[in-house]
Subunit: 473 residues, 2 copies
């Protein structure tokens, strides 16, 4: 199989002419399938390659996490392809954090007490299915599942894929089995949406001038489950549940089937200390006493020892493109630790930005250069914020000073809804560039510091004044 490379000119909706390109998208997850929709709507010929089988036919999703937190940036990108309402229809709104203390007491910190905006817990499978169904409606999107990218020549726009198990078997019956069967394809533009361990990025990393860093954190994570009971949620569903415990923590997000996906995040050393069933149960009885009966002791033991804790990585790149030949988006370009719930949202926002740039009808290499220049600071910023939020979630949410600041932020936000948007809200509920969210927070910190020191000085002056006046009397 081989797609030919043909550039031809077509008339777009506004009567303008644009070059119609053969675009190969690697990865048909949420970001890849959204990218396919976007390129198809511009009139390009899209080949969408995915190394897994079609998720709509899959029983079990092999993905890292089965639910995702959707917020403003993801919603905006979905709205642009007319899918926002369909996705929200089966999503579960989360109005705030429900904090679980060691003693099992719960308290609620709303995300947005002013405008009641929420995060949405969406099933990865459901979201991906909706996007792929939408792809099927485009005659210029061609899906190729079980195609694993093994080689890419970005300069010449050539790709080679290894077929998945089933397809490989079918091929083998026709061909000689000892020769490995690779599928070749070519494209004018290759778009890598193939996740944190992107195979396309591995090619870009070899190009001179490609800056890259991957940083692992010393914390591992492991997924557990709080099942439904009598077909009901075992905890209030409309919250993101957090058990902050200083150097480690646990969170839970609600699923459509009334279960919760629970994520346990701890330093690898702590995982290693839990070797026996007894040690595990003792640990949970000490730190997560209220969650233990909900998970179930036997289920906990089974799930905990079934798999090893997974690593978490932060990826930063610059640039995201190679001439007018290749581009990486989403986790392939900026994987982050999952503690801001912005991984998917940032990936989808890449497409909002890319669209707005591509619509300016610049030469493609200039447009992709502009995309890199417009995006890298914000992508690096959200990677840093995600790292920071890990500290906040496991540690700060418990502290008095954090709650005090949260209360102050909320109060000021109520009074000045346009002038004082707290950091979390600007990240989750606006489309303010991530780097500007950080700058905004720094401005707020400075102002508060000035007001605080001003107040102290004023109090001192008033006190001195009062003593002086008293003496005069």
């Amino acid at each position: 199989m081989s797609q030919s490379t043909t550039n031809y000119v077509y008339a777009d909706g506004n009567g303008a002419t644009a070059t119609r390109r053969n675009v190969a998208i690697v990865g048909a997850g949420p970001v890849g399938s959204l990218a396919a929709l976007n390129f198809a709507r511009m009139g390009h010929e899209v080949q969408l390659y995915e190394y897994r089988e079609d998720i709509r036919k899959a029983q079990l999703v092999q993905g890292r996490s089965i639910n995702l937190a959707l917020s403003q940036r993801g919603r905006k990108a979905l709205a642009a392809v007319g899918l926002e309402q369909q996705v929200l229809a089966t999503a579960i709104p989360m109005r705030g954090r429900m904090l679980h203390s060691v003693k099992g007491r719960t308290s609620i910190v709303l995300y947005d007490p002013c405008n009641n905006q929420c995060l949405y817990s969406v099933g990865r499978k459901r979201l991906n299915e909706l996007l792929l169904d939408a792809c099927d409606a485009f005659p210029n999107i061609h899906c190729h599942f079980e195609h694993k990218l093994v080689k890419a020549n970005v300069r010449e726009g050539r790709l080679q894929f290894r077929l998945g198990r089933e397809k490989q078997k079918m091929k083998e019956q026709e061909q000689q089995p000892e020769q490995e069967q690779l599928i070749s394809a070519s494209a004018d533009l290759i778009v890598g949406c193939d996740g944190a361990f992107s195979a396309l990025r591995q090619q870009l990393v070899r190009q001179p001038g490609f800056n890259y860093s991957q940083e692992y954190i010393g914390t591992g994570y492991l997924e557990l489950c709080i099942p439904a009971k009598d077909n009901e949620f075992q905890m209030p569903p409309n919250y993101l549940h957090i058990w902050p415990r200083d150097s480690f923590m646990m969170i839970a997000l609600p699923n459509q089937d009334k279960s919760f996906t629970v994520t346990l995040s701890m330093p690898f050393e702590v995982f290693e200390q839990l070797k026996t069933q007894q040690q595990l149960l003792d640990f949970f009885r000490t730190h997560y006493a209220d969650a233990l009966p909900l998970i179930g002791e036997q289920q906990l033991i089974k799930d905990f020892f079934k798999s090893r804790p997974q690593h978490l990585m932060s990826v930063k790149c610059k640039p995201y493109h190679y001439m007018d030949k290749a581009l990486i988006l989403g986790d392939a370009a900026h994987a982050m630790v999952p503690y801001y719930g912005q991984g998917l949202n940032a990936g989808m926002e890449d497409l909002t930005l890319l669209n707005s740039i591509l619509n300016q009808q610049l030469p493609l290499d200039v447009a992709l250069e502009k995309f890199t220049e417009s995006r890298w600071r914000d992508a690096h910023a959200i990677c840093d914020l995600a790292m920071y939020n890990y500290v906040e979630m496991r540690d700060l949410t418990k502290r008095w000073s954090f709650r005090c600041r949260k209360w102050l932020d909320t109060t000021l936000f109520r009074i000045f809804p346009n002038q004082w948007v707290p950091l979390y809200n600007s990240v989750s509920f606006t489309s303010m560039p991530y780097s500007q969210c950080i700058a905004n927070r720094q401005w707020q910190d400075q102002l508060l510091r000035k007001v605080l020191s001003g107040t102290i000085v004023l109090s001192f002056l008033v006190a001195v004044g009062a003593i002086y006046v008293r003496r005069l009397r």
Copy 2:
């Protein structure tokens, strides 16, 4: 061809027993061949693979730079294998920097006016030849040239090499030409000394927990030459010549054949402005007027337009090992920009440290873990220092404040030769860990700041006192 993996026990020189391993070293440059010597001396069976042809038979060295600055750390590592004096015998000592002003005036800044220590300009080819000749003397070192590593399975200790052009041709006459002939090998330990773009590191980068960054600088470099004239050097040979010009610079190191290798470092934008021969000559007449007649106008034009400026990259990793299976050393582990002349020295120092750890007879995985832990801070530090020295060389060397500090450092060094070692001297002429060199400099900066502010306060007090006394009179 396939080497079998056999661990067997042998008695070392001290009568103790140690495991004799099959060690595959990838890369037979100065660090790789030095590593081969070190492992062979410990009694291991060493396979040394190099993708280029044997440098001793090569006419032209394809390497990046034909001369290298050897200093204390490299000398120490060479001394440990008995080669220091042989290398120094054909090296050219450089006693300091000779600075060339725009007007062609020269001034000298000695590296070490106290102890007269020098850097040594050594030919890469000569150094490599001496090391390979030494390898030939060991029956347990087996060299394999024109073997390019294409695949490595570090977990299972398997390697695959593609043969060089000549060997490939010989093979093809026996085999079917359409099937690519790969050479397989196995090893207990794979050591990657294969440079900044290390193929072995590409495998390690995929391992969970492997932190990695590559950072390109916006500066490119291009090599020129000041040839010998009447079989004599055209400039004083015993200096590293520098033409500092703020945002760009040029340096020259002496060669054995009485030529100088000249390296022009400039932002890529500046390179791009020099499109025509006239533009190039005008640029040199303005900025490097004294060097132009030495290089020769026609030769400059030829060399400048022959090749594009090369990128410069800084690489940081952690860890440097994978269990007891793989290890990276030298540029593969910590490539740096070339402005401290420490790239080779740091690579060779890796082996000094590795030896001292391996001699502790720890289990190999523990020893390699200890190597990573003992080395990464210093490797990161020298990468940062090299970046800093670029600023110093192109910019600071011209400034009054820099020269003033240099004078102060030298004076204090003369008075307190053991207590006040300037940064450059501690890096180049001692074996002080690089991170400690930086800490040492920070301590000096702090002390000088305190003394300076103390002096100002004291002067003020003396002045006030003088006025007061005068009034009393």
